[in-house]
Symmetry: C2
Subunit: 501 residues, 2 copies
């Protein structure tokens, strides 16, 4: 007769089920963004809400708490991965059980409603239209943050941050962002000056047929190492990388008169996908086999897009391939010109269009505002003014309207407070990882110049992907680069690319 | 304070959740058939198995039995739809709780494995390769049939039949099929003789560009009444109608040198879809709001395809539209020729290619064989011989190999015993409904000739679709046509179309 399963194995069984439900929801989200006709929206919302409710119930089930306690009491019976898995399970359980079901549901409904209103308020530049709903979202988020803070023993903002960035704390972010802030304004001035001394790069002229853009995107995805037996590329209004790690669904959107936006977007999402495809196969169904957190995830997309694919070596490889695919000719298609286009620095109002020199300012602004919102030091009615003041101070720009200001990002309207800092943590992590990769494998740049991504991908597989969530973000970075996260490598990268180059 | 929910309302909440989970699974099945890369198969199987296991647990939950008993004790508090819903809920609960979870799981695994083997055994015509796995499937199915038979108080075969055709019983099917068998062999001879007296119809010559075929298919779907804000048309190896009733996912497959197969396939699936789109909106989340059963479902696809779209009036409408779309010319594109092509009778080995005169023989053969298999009167090793004898007796054909014999259909290899008779019950139901529709709305044929499906669809909405599962199959048919199902209308239709016409 088979022995009874141990409490730890009960947890594995439960969380494998939860993982499968999460994957199922991932495909339903992908379908909603890419395939679903409008008339399916209401019942899709029902399906997703049902899956969430079941996931929540299965996670907060009192037996899970008992199994965790029993497994922790006999933690020496577990191997290193099992121990790490138990830690992740306990973390997920703590987050879920901190919040009463009625609050989860109320917040979910408030976010759906607010996001829906935001979709029309943004193009109309009408903050007042969405403010009442955003207030409800903020009130409920504060309540949730407080509940999680008490359960986790951290501040309310850190409790929100921890959802996206396990172990992330505002104190460390403050120091890292202060380091950036002490350097970036002057650096930006120097970069713009250096850039002004060169003739401006020329944009290749379209039209760029969408079918050709799709074929080019797929070709580069394969070159980067994306496995199309485990994923697809489709079209959605907002590009993302979804699905499950065995079946990644990338999306982008195409413009006939500009191939670069979709192209760079696909390379960015491919970075996310390569991370997922490199997660440890034998642990994928367990929490420890999932991606570490949003800053590591974003580091993989930014390393791929910013460090690798906006580099000069990549332009040398890509220029003739793109020229031939689009039947282009002339100076606009030369590698050096494409490189200059891909590294053009232009302060602007919109975060998602920002270059890597000005991007941190966008994130720092949002980070400070959302900390004040959660702490009760700032209220929704004062938010647009605070936003505009921040843009003036950080980038010297006068925001002309809320569409190009406080209304531009979906995050807060969808309840995602604590997410923004992971973008810039990811950028710093990317630079630090890329520097270490190039120190270990000095031929990475020359390989990029001939379209050979294997040395880079090999290093990432070995030093990042295969660890899943078995290490903390900090442990992972120390192990891969020899030191914890700092702004050093990121600033070195910016100086090297934008001043000396 | 809100009153506690009644037991009946507890059931509604539970079954709304189950409905949403079932819909979620429907989209994951659709995705697997249309979009999923091969590498996603294993984790998709996990997702679907997890959803099934949760659905099973939520259905057999002892509280559900208590709620059912309590609701039945106070059934007079319920309105007619609620009463019908309670009946459906009790039926679903009885089916699910008759079978122990380990048997459900073992059968599910055996079916997956057997079906996988069948996929290669069929093209290789290698019955021996799949026979051991089919034996396991049959053994477990017999066990399940026995368990359900005891719980439902019916025979084991009827218990299987009841899964697809609620209330269906082999005794009635025997009588209906005997009526067909006493007429069809002679009728087939007369039809072939009559057909032989006419010059053979001419097939339009391709190629028929796939993009044009898609556009034509979508155009006719709209003409028939399909609402594209609540559905899509895509490509899969085996055509089906999936998704949920708010978001129907139809599929077909296209051949460049023959448009008729995909075209007729789409019209067939559109019939299924129109039924789903016509189900009562306010009850869709409950069991009573679902389609009645497989014979009614198949009646809707066959009525649309066979009765409406293979009729002479439809050919009059469709011929010029098709001719123009494909740039065709000449006799092959004349309405009378297309009509003759669409009603060509040719006895053959393959059920899915069969015309409506010979189709019942295919079904009767499978029905008799599967009854014997379930009753233990026939074993797997003797199945190919029994199949071939049956084809000789029923259609006078000598089966050349198992690929064109016992291996042709997925059903048994996937564990679907008790399904086959619903095809021919559906054909008879379709004829009986169409006859009544034309009696009530005599302009239906002339409307079809100008592409106006509204009178027909209106009648179906009123007399079939809006009832959901609130009536039994028999009640529905008596209410719509004045009498229970018989072979009369079907045989009248065949004689009218194939002998007098």
């Amino acid at each position: 007769m088979a022995a009874d399963p141990t409490p730890y194995h009960q947890l594995e069984t439960r969380f494998a089920r939860l993982g499968a439900l999460g994957d199922a929801a991932g495909f339903l989200h992908w379908d909603a963004a890419t395939m679903m006709p409008d008339g399916g929206a209401d019942s899709r919302a029902d399906q997703l809400a049902t899956l969430s409710a079941i996931e929540h119930e299965m996670t907060v089930d009192p037996r899970v708490a008992e199994w965790i306690a029993a497994a922790e009491a006999r933690v020496d019976d577990l191997d290193a991965w099992q121990k790490a898995n138990l830690r992740e399970i306990a973390r997920l359980h703590a987050h879920a059980s901190a919040v009463p079901a009625h609050l989860v549901e109320a917040l979910s409904r408030a976010c759906s409603s607010c996001e829906m209103t935001w979709r029309t308020a943004r193009p109309a530049s009408d903050f007042a239209a969405v403010a009442p709903k955003l207030k409800i979202v903020l009130d409920l988020t504060r309540e949730m943050a407080q509940a999680k803070a008490e359960a986790l023993g951290v501040t309310p903002y850190d409790a929100l941050l921890d959802q996206y960035e396990p172990g992330g704390r505002a104190d460390s972010i403050d120091m890292l962002f202060a380091d950036l802030e002490s350097v970036l304004p002057n650096l930006l001035g120097e970069v713009l000056e250096a850039q002004g001394r060169r003739p401006p790069p020329v944009r290749p002229k379209g039209p760029f047929p969408i079918e050709t853009q799709k074929a080019v995107a797929a070709r580069f995805m394969k070159t980067l190492g994306f496995d199309f037996t485990h994923g697809r590329l489709d079209v959605s209004a907002h590009p993302f990388c979804g699905g499950s790690s065995d079946d990644l669904r990338l999306t982008t959107r195409y413009e006939e008169d500009d191939f670069a936006q979709a192209f760079m977007g696909v390379l960015h999402e491919t970075g996310h996908a390569l991370y997922e495809q490199g997660l440890p196969a034998e642990w994928r169904k367990q929490p420890v086999g999932k991606a570490r957190g949003m800053s590591v995830h974003e580091s993989q997309s930014l390393l791929t897009e910013m460090l690798a694919c906006r580099s000069r070596p990549f332009a040398i490889y890509a220029a003739p391939v793109l020229r031939e695919a689009f039947g282009g000719a002339g100076q606009a298609w030369e590698a050096e010109n494409l490189y200059r286009l891909n590294t053009l620095v232009e302060p602007g109002f919109i975060r998602v269009d920002a270059d890597e020199v000005t991007y941190p300012a966008h994130v720092i602004l949002r980070y400070r505002l959302e900390r004040d919102l959660i702490a009760g030091r700032l209220e929704i009615d004062d938010l647009p003014e605070a936003w505009n003041e921040g843009m003036q101070r950080l980038l010297g720009l006068t925001v002309p309207d809320d569409r190009r200001g406080v209304l531009q990002d979906i995050h807060w309207y969808d309840g995602a407070f604590g997410y923004f800092p992971t973008y810039t943590l990811g950028a710093m992590t990317a630079a630090q990882l890329f520097l270490s990769a190039c120190e270990t494998e000095p031929r990475i740049p020359e390989c990029l110049a001939v379209g050979d991504f294997r040395p880079l991908l090999g290093w990432l597989r070995q030093n990042v992907h295969r660890h899943g969530s078995s290490l903390s973000t900090r442990e992972l970075l120390v192990k891969a680069t020899g030191e914890p996260l700092s702004a050093k490598a990121f600033l070195t990268h910016l100086r090297g690319r934008y001043l000396e180059d």
